[in-house]
Symmetry: C2
Subunit: 222 residues, 2 copies
C-alpha cells in the first residue's frame, strides 16, 4: 500500500502504529483501525488508557521479577507457598501457564528471555545475577545445607531450582549457563520432563520427541 494512498494522515499514523505490533501486518492494522473508527469514543479511550497504564504503572516483583501491582507479587507474598522451590522461567506468560495447571506450590524466577547471541541477548540482559543472589541468600539462611549441586531428584537438599526453560537452543544454552552459575551452591537442579504429550499419538509425534521419549522411558505403572 503506497504512502500517498491513505485518505487521512490520522488513519496512516494509526495504521503504522498498530502495524508495529508483532504478528499484525498492514492489512490487519487497517482492519483494526477502521474497526476502532466505528466504535464509541470512550471504548477507544479505554483501550488507549489500558495500554498506557499497563506500560507505565505496572511493577515488577523485587524477588521473582514477575509483573505485579505491588513491590512483592502475590505469589512471593503467599506464606503457604514453598519458598525453597524456585521455578526459573523465561517469561511472565510461562508463570501464568504453570499457575493455570494448579500443580505447583513453589515460587518463580522470571528471566525475561533466554540467552540468544543471534538476537544480541546475553546473560546480563536477563535476571540471572538476581537469581544467583537469591539462591545465595537462601543458602546462607539454611546453614545445614552442605550438598553441592546435584541433578539427582531422589536426594532432597533443602533448596530446589527447577529450570523450566524452552526446549530450543536458546533455552538449553540458558539452562546450561544457569547450571554453571549455581554449581557452587547446595541446590537441587531439576528440569521439566519431556516426552510425548498426554494423549498424543506416536504417528503424529516428531522424531526428536519420539526418540527422546524412548530413551527416557519409564517403568510401567498400571
Amino acid at each position: 500500500m503506497l504512502r500517498e494512498r491513505y485518505p487521512s494522515k490520522l488513519l496512516e499514523d494509526a495504521v503504522e502504529a498498530i502495524g508495529t505490533l508483532p504478528g499484525v501486518g498492514k492489512r490487519s492494522a487497517m482492519r483494526l483501525a477502521l474497526h476502532l473508527l466505528r466504535q464509541p469514543s470512550e471504548n477507544v479511550h479505554h483501550l488507549a488508557d489500558a495500554l498506557v497504564h499497563l506500560r507505565d504503572d505496572v511493577k515488577y516483583c523485587s524477588t521473582c521479577m514477575m509483573i505485579s501491582d505491588a513491590d512483592t507479587c502475590s505469589i512471593c507474598a503467599d506464606a503457604h507457598r514453598d519458598h525453597r522451590t524456585i521455578c526459573v522461567v523465561e517469561s511472565v506468560r510461562d508463570v501464568m501457564s504453570i499457575e493455570n495447571t494448579g500443580q505447583y506450590n513453589g515460587v518463580y524466577h522470571v528471566l525475561g528471555g533466554s540467552i540468544s547471541p543471534i538476537d544480541g541477548i546475553g546473560p546480563s540482559d536477563l535476571t540471572i545475577s538476581a537469581l544467583v543472589s537469591r539462591v545465595e541468600s537462601l543458602c546462607d539462611s539454611d546453614p545445614s545445607a552442605s550438598l553441592r549441586v546435584t541433578n539427582d531428584v531422589e536426594k532432597s537438599p533443602s533448596l530446589e531450582v527447577i529450570l523450566a526453560l524452552g526446549g530450543d537452543v536458546e533455552g538449553e544454552t540458558t539452562a546450561f549457563y544457569i547450571y554453571r552459575q549455581l554449581s557452587r551452591f547446595p541446590v537441587k537442579l531439576t528440569t521439566l520432563a519431556r516426552g510425548l504429550g498426554f494423549g498424543d499419538d506416536l504417528e503424529y509425534a516428531d522424531e526428536v520427541t519420539l526418540g527422546r521419549s524412548l530413551a527416557a522411558r519409564q517403568p510401567f505403572k498400571p
Copy 2:
C-alpha cells in the same frame, strides 16, 4: 484463562481491552500486552495517542462520506476527477482498494456498510439518503439529461452510478434497494464485472463463479 490467575490488574485490564478487537483472542491479547510491556514507554504512548486521535479527530467528507482530514476529501476536492461518475462502495477500505488499482478517475460514495436485517442494519443506518440527494442535485444541475435509469452501458447519460458492492446477499440487497431509490433519476447504473479472477485456473474456481463466468461470456478479442 481464569480471572484470578492474572498477576496484575493492569495486565488484566489491558488484555481485556485488547481482546475486544476483532480477530484478537485472549491468547493473542496476552501476547500483545506482554510485547507492549517490553517496549519503550514513548512507543506505547505513540500507539495510544494515534488510536485516540484517529477516533476523535478524523473527519468525514461531507460529499462522499469518505474519511478525510478536512471537510472535503482529497478525491472530491480534485478538479481533475470525473465528478459525474460515482462509485458506491460499502467501506473506506473499498475506496482504498479501488484507488490502488489506479484505474478509476471518478468519485465515490461510502455507504458505511450494507443492508443486513440479521445484524439490524437497515437502509437508514447507511448513507443511502445522502446518495439520493447527491444524485438529485447532480441531475438538477444538468437539465439536458432526460433519460430514465438504464443498465445499458453502451448509452451515455451524463451521470453514472457504479454499484461496487459485495457479492454476498447483503451487497445484492443493498444494490437492489439503491436501484429502486435511483430509478426515478436519469442515471446510468452499472455494477462491477464478475467472473474468474485474472490468471485464475478453472480447476480451482468455485462452481458459482465458473457458472456465472460462463453465462456472462464475452466476445473473444485477440
